[in-house]
Structures are given as structure tokens and as C-alpha cells.
């Protein structure tokens, strides 16, 4: 589904990603771990198409299509979803209004009519129950005055509504207490299928107890320095990252 080859990306002439190779197939869950400043968030932003980052070398392909000239909104229409580490506030725009706009814009891009209101309502009811979201929450301004947990739950709610092909969860566990973490993880697990894929970006192994990865990759200094199965996450939890910093690049 997603194929990243020798990806180099920089911001303001500073190279952050220095040759990433990653292949994600439908039905898989990949975890990307690594210390602060290793390039995890940059990788997710680059996949999502943030223009601030310049891809200097290599390629990102989704279902065989090179995404180089594909805008962020078009990537979203193609099914890429990024759950933000720090979701932004949009005062005066309700969660419902925002998700309605997002869904209908994606439908428009696919040549579909707006989703009928009753269908939208049903979908909202269904997905908010899945994530244990209070109906009142849906009429609040997007992320304005939300707690850390509410923000993350809102991200996963949007993911549930948009049903992406590829979901990237960027530090979705940060700022979550254990109950919220469980709800969010359960939500993600219920949305998982053989047709979609999830990339979980995280610092800690904690989230991976709930969302069990098929593959774990360790990012350090803009490169994937080690890949393995879920046991790698446990090893990292015990030993920290230092022992990997001198490892050679895993091809």
C-alpha cells in the first residue's frame, strides 16, 4: 500500500530525514519508535504532504502512485489520515461542522454528492458511541478548550468518520491517562481491517500493549536503524534507545 524509498526531507535546508525505507501493506500495523528529535513527526508530516518540508530525494508511493505532486488535501482524499500530536483549535467551528465539511469535501473529490444529513447523523452516532464520546462534545468548537485526552479522542473520532486507508497516529498516547488510552486504542482496534493499515508513532511501548504492532521500526537521526517484530518494542522499553544509536542501518 505505502512504499517509501530512500526518502530524504529537509526543512529550511536542514536535513531531517536521511534515507527512509518503509513498506506498509494492507492489514498491517507498524510502530515507529525513537528518541526525541529522531524525525518521527517529520516523517508523518511528509507522508501527509506538509509543504514546509522539502523532499530532496527518494519517493513516497501510495498504491503505486508517486505522491510527489499530490497536495495534502488530495492525499487525504486518497485515504491518508494523520492523527496530529498537537491538534489545532478552530474557534467557532463545531466538531460536527468540521467533520461534515471534511467528509463532503472528500466525497466531492470522488465525484459524489454530499452525504445526506440523516446518514451523516447515523454515522456520527455510531462512531461517537464506539469511542465513548458524549454528544455535547460534538457541538463544541474544534479542540478549543479540549483537554489533552479530548483532543486525541477527537482525532480518532475523525479517523473513524473518514475511514482512511492509511492512518498515521502521531504520538496519540501523549497526554492520555490510562482510561483514555484504552478507549482510543480500542477504537483503533475496532477500525482495523484487512484493507487498511496503521502506522503508530510513539515514544513509549505503553500504547503498543493495546495496539499490537506487526512490525516495529526504530528511527534515529533520520534513519531507520532497526526493524523487528513486537518484541523489539519490549526490548526498547527495557534497554532504552542508547544501545541502538550505534547500530548500522537495517536494510
Amino acid at each position: 500500500m505505502l512504499k517509501i524509498e530512500n526518502l530524504h526531507a529537509s526543512v529550511e535546508d536542514k536535513e531531517i530525514l536521511k534515507g527512509i525505507n518503509l513498506e506498509v501493506n494492507a492489514g498491517e500495523v507498524h510502530a515507529i519508535m525513537g528518541p526525541n528529535g529522531s524525525g518521527k513527526s517529520t516523517l508523518s508530516a511528509v507522508i501527509a504532504g506538509k509543504e514546509e518540508f522539502e523532499v530532496t530525494e527518494g519517493s513516497i508511493k501510495l498504491d503505486g502512485e508517486d505522491l510527489e505532486d499530490v497536495s495534502a488535501e488530495e492525499r487525504a482524499h486518497k485515504g491518508i489520515f494523520l492523527s496530529f500530536q498537537y491538534p489545532v483549535e478552530i474557534p467557532g467551528v463545531s466538531v460536527t461542522n468540521f467533520i461534515k465539511t471534511a467528509i463532503n469535501e472528500s466525497r466531492k473529490a470522488r465525484g459524489l454528492e454530499d452525504m445526506p444529513a440523516n446518514k451523516m447523523l447515523k454515522l456520527i452516532r455510531e462512531k461517537s458511541e464506539l469511542l465513548d464520546i458524549d454528544r455535547k462534545f460534538l457541538s463544541r468548537s474544534l479542540n478549543e478548550g479540549f483537554s489533552g485526552g479530548e483532543k486525541k479522542r477527537n482525532e480518532i473520532f475523525q479517523m473513524a468518520m473518514l475511514e482512511p486507508k492509511l492512518a498515521i497516529l502521531d504520538e496519540t498516547d501523549s497526554g492520555l491517562d490510562i482510561d483514555a488510552l484504552r478507549i482510543v486504542a480500542n477504537g483503533v482496534n475496532k477500525l482495523k481491517s484487512k484493507d487498511n493499515a496503521v502506522i503508530v508513532i510513539t515514544h513509549y511501548q505503553r500504547l503498543l500493549e493495546y495496539i499490537v504492532p506487526d512490525f516495529v521500526h526504530v528511527l534515529h537521526n533520520g534513519k531507520i536503524v532497526k526493524s523487528g517484530g513486537k518484541e523489539l518494542a519490549i526490548e526498547l522499553e527495557e534497554k532504552g534507545y542508547d544501545w541502538l544509536k550505534n547500530e548500522a542501518v537495517v536494510e
Binding site: 501527509a48 504532504g49 506538509k50 509543504e51 514546509e52 497536495s71 495534502a72 488535501e73 492525499r75 487525504a76 482524499h77 489520515f81 494523520l82 496530529f84 491538534p87 489545532v88 478552530i90 474557534p91 467557532g92 467551528v93 461542522n97 468540521f98 467533520i99 465539511t101 471534511a102 469535501e105 472528500s106 473529490a109 468548537s141 474544534l142 475523525q158 473518514l162
Partner: protein, 481 residues
């Protein structure tokens, strides 16, 4: 193509005025220049009684001695008042019995504006008195209104048909010598609307008027007078668009509202005069005096969405004369390219237990300057006066400006005055967030701006809110893609 600050700015700059067309309707235009003879000629042309002519002449006398105000935070080349034609009326101006009789080209113009009269007629509860080039050409729903004793007509008609009301109230809230532009308007006003709601009557529909400037070099000077008698209620809508012109056009209107004991007036405006091109050439000078007087237990709400004009100078105000009276001001002012707006309100608390609310939302883009200027004045006898003001500014790009000039004068110790102000900027992060959810930059800006303006948009009557939202989008979006 994702978003950068630079691109956003470019997009905003490329926005062209959508309603830039000119209707070729024969007009009866007076030669340029202004003197006593012109004032008399205008009055004569309109068949006014002598008292009105004298009233105009007195205003003209004051105006000659006055100077154009310079205190506003706007820069512009002062109009040459001797180079303006002060009267222009469509040639064919009989009152029509049906729309079929209306000049088809005129109807076409309204269609271009998206305000087809057919549609308007069908729209439940909207009576439309259309002012095009200063003279009313079509009035609907008049009968329904007449049954309730409501008078809704052009001011010219009111001068002839209801002189006792006009005589009593015209100039009572905005005196002839109130300010330079009000004096000018008093001398030369061409037409406008008049509305009277009798005691205890609740006007069953929103009253609305559309204005257009449609004649090269023609200044437009409307005069609006709304009187809500004791215990009555009326919601009045005013909306306008203007065709594209190279030279500057002057617009100096006066609106007077009178809310007698226990009456309520809701006055909503959507203003979309030609703002000038992206280099700042052309555009309307909008120097308006709007003021309402509240007697005991009365309430006046001003709601405005200002997106047009090259220069705006406008402060819809409330004089809270009666005890327990309420004044409200809800405003969205958008400036783009080289537009300049200096707008706000005055809340004058004279009576006891008077309350006022001010919510002002300024949105600046391009190289524009957007100023809020508001006065809250509590008189020494105004016991327990309350005011709440909130002024929010939203900036797009790095070359525009947002300014807030609040004036607070409290002469009574029991006054409670609150003022809140915020300034924010549409950030790249907000745009990227929207992009990531499949919402393109243009739509994202519209979403953010609408969210920012929501508190004010919510105050508009439903059908107007939709139009206003559309206008906000048109005013701020470029032709993306």
C-alpha cells in the same frame, strides 16, 4: 498544492470584484456641482413641500461651514464635492403593478446579484423595497403591511403622504449639523426608505431594502427613517452591492431609528460596495451616520457585515435615553487589498439600568487597515449602567493592520464596563490541519473565518446569514486552482 503564507497572500490579491458590471439604464442625471440652486432643484424634482426644501437649505448652510473630519484612521483623497452629480434617478420610474412591467434589464441586474425578485417574493415574509440609483422602483408586500397599519415606503413618498411623522422625527436623532456627511446628506438626500410600525404591532415579516450605485460619478445619499411606536417590533434588513467603477464614488447615508417606549428595532446590514481593485484604485467611499434612539424599555440592535468599500467610516450608535433601555452592536468588518475601515459604535447611556453589548469582529487581509473605534459613555444620571464589549481581530498575512480604539467615559460610579480584546492570525498549522482532513485551502479559510464570525452571523436573520456567509467567502478567497 498545499498552503504557504505567500500563496495565501497571492490568492487574496487575485480576488476580483464579482459584481463588477454596469447596467445600461437611461438615467435622469443632474449636472455636477453643489449650490443652493441644486438643493432647491433636487427638492423640486421630487415634488417636495416647502418645509422640506427649507430643511434641506438649512442643512446646506451648515454643511458649507463645516470641514471634512480627519480623525479617522483612514487615508484617502478627499472627494471634490463640486465634481459630483447629486441626483440620478432611473428614467422609467412609474410604480409597477406587477414585476412584468419592470424594466427587464433591471430585473436582469438583480438576477446577476443573485437576488431575483421572483425568489424574493416567494421567500416567506420578506418584503423588498428596492432602491436603485436612489429611487424606489418596486415595492412588494405593501398590502399585507398596510393591513397592520405599517407604513413601509420610500422616504420621498413619506414626505408627501405622512408629513406629520417625517417632520416630527427626521433629524431628531441625527441632527442636520451632526457632522459633515450628515449635513451633506440632509441637504441632498435623493431617496431612501421610511418605516413606521404602529403601537403594539409586531411587524410580521423582515423588511428589506437593496441599494445599488449604478451611475458613473453619481454620489448616493440615502436617508432612512425607521420609527417603532410604543411596544412594537420590527426587523429591518439592508443589503447592497455596487458595480465596478474606476473613479471613486461617494456614499454618505444617514439612518435614523426611533424606538419609543418598549419598542424593539433590529437593523441588519450587509454591505458590499465596490472595494476598489487590488492596486487600491476606485472603490466606494462609505461615510455613513447611523444612530438609534431608545426610549424607556426599548431595544435597538445593530448587526452589520461590512465587506466592501475602499474607505469605510461608520459607527451605528445607540442613545439609551430611556430607563432600562438596551443597545446592541454586532459587527463583522472585512478588509482586503487596500481597503480601509474605521468602524465601530457609540453607546450613550443616559437612562437608569441601561445595558449595552458590543461584539466586533475585524478581519484584515492584503494591505488593508481595519480599525475598531467604539465609545461607551455613561452619563452622570445613568445609575447601574452596564456594558460589555468584545473586539476580536483576525489577521491574514503580514502586511495588513488591525487597530482597536476603545473610548470609555464613565461619569457614574455604579457603572459596570467590561472590555475584552483579542488578536489572532490564521496560521499555517490551522490550514494544514484542514488540508489533511481533505479540506482545501480556500474552503479552510472560509471555515475559519466563518467560525471566527459566528457570534455575529448568528444574530442575522436566517436568509441574510447565508448571503453574508457567501459574501465573507467571496471577499477573502482567491481563485484557487
Amino acid at each position: 498544492m498545499a498552503y504557504t503564507e505567500e500563496e495565501l497572500k497571492k490568492e487574496l490579491e487575485t480576488k476580483e470584484y464579482e459584481y463588477g458590471f454596469y447596467t445600461d439604464i437611461e438615467s435622469d442625471t443632474m449636472p455636477v456641482g453643489l449650490n443652493e440652486d441644486v438643493v432647491i432643484a433636487i427638492s423640486k424634482k421630487k415634488g417636495e413641500p416647502e418645509w422640506m426644501t427649507l430643511w434641506r437649505l438649512e442643512a446646506f448652510k451648515y454643511w458649507k461651514e463645516m470641514e471634512e473630519p480627519e480623525w479617522a484612521n483612514v487615508k484617502y483623497e478627499k472627494p471634490d464635492f463640486q465634481a459630483i452629480s447629486y441626483y440620478s434617478a432611473p428614467n422609467k420610474k412609474p410604480k409597477y403593478d406587477s414585476l412584468d412591467e419592470v424594466d427587464p434589464e433591471l430585473l436582469d441586474t438583480f438576477k446577476k446579484l443573485g437576488i431575483s425578485i421572483d425568489e424574493q417574493k416567494k421567500l416567506a415574509g420578506v418584503a423588498v423595497d428596492i432602491v436603485m440609483d436612489s429611487v424606489s422602483v418596486a415595492t412588494t408586500f405593501k398590502k399585507t403591511l398596510a393591513e397592520k397599519g405599517i407604513i413601509f415606503c420610500s422616504i420621498s413618498e413619506a414626505i408627501k403622504e405622512h408629513p406629520e411623522l417625517v417632520k416630527k422625527y427626521i433629524g431628531s436623532v441625527v441632527p442636520k449639523k451632526d457632522n459633515f456627511y450628515a449635513a451633506l446628506n440632509s441637504a441632498v438626500f435623493s431617496d431612501g426608505s421610511f418605516c413606521y410600525i404602529p403601537k403594539g404591532v409586531r411587524c410580521p415579516m423582515e423588511l428589506s431594502t437593496y441599494f445599488r450605485i449604478n451611475q458613473a460619478g453619481t454620489g448616493q445619499f440615502e436617508r432612512t427613517l425607521v420609527i417603532a411606536d410604543e411596544g412594537s417590533y420590527v426587523s429591518y434588513l439592508e443589503g447592497c452591492t455596487a458595480p465596478s467603477r474606476d473613479e471613486n464614488q461617494l456614499h454618505a447615508a444617514v439612518v435614523e431609528l426611533i424606538a419609543l417606549d418598549g419598542a424593539e428595532i433590529k437593523y441588519s446590514t450587509v454591505q458590499n460596495w465596490f472595494p476598489g481593485d487590488k492596486e487600491g484604485r476606485g472603490g466606494v467611499y462609505n461615510f455613513v451616520t447611523k444612530r438609534g434612539l431608545c426610549e424607556k424599555n426599548a431595544k435597538i440592535s445593530w448587526t452589520q457585515v461590512e465587506t466592501g468599500s475602499a474607505v469605510t467610516w461608520k459607527y451605528p450608535s445607540c442613545v439609551l435615553k430611556g430607563d432600562n433601555s438596551i443597545g446592541e452592536f454586532y459587527s463583522i468588518a472585512v478588509t482586503n487589498n487596500h481597503q480601509q475601515a474605521d468602524t465601530g459604535t457609540k453607546m450613550i447611556h443616559l437612562g437608569k439600568n441601561t445595558r449595552s453589548t458590543i461584539i466586533s469582529k475585524g478581519i484584515s487581509a492584503g494591505k488593508s487597515q481595519n480599525s475598531y473605534r467604539g465609545l461607551v459613555q455613561v452619563n452622570s444620571r445613568a445609575e447601574n449602567a452596564r456594558n460589555f464589549s468584545q473586539c476580536d481581530s483576525l489577521l491574514m498575512g503580514n502586511e495588513c493592520g488591525a487597530h482597536t480604539f476603545p473610548y470609555i467615559e464613565a461619569k457614574n460610579k455604579t457603572a459596570q464596563i467590561e472590555h475584552e480584546a483579542t488578536t489572532s492570525k490564521i496560521g499555517e498549522d490551522q490550514i494544514f490541519y484542514c488540508n489533511q482532513r481533505g479540506i482545501d485551502t480556500e474552503k479552510a479559510i472560509a471555515l475559519i473565518v466563518n467560525g471566527f464570525s459566528k457570534e455575529v452571523l448568528n444574530k442575522l436573520p436566517m436568509e441574510f446569514a447565508v448571503e453574508a456567509q457567501k459574501l465573507l467567502e467571496i471577499s477573502l478567497e482567491g481563485s484557487v486552482g
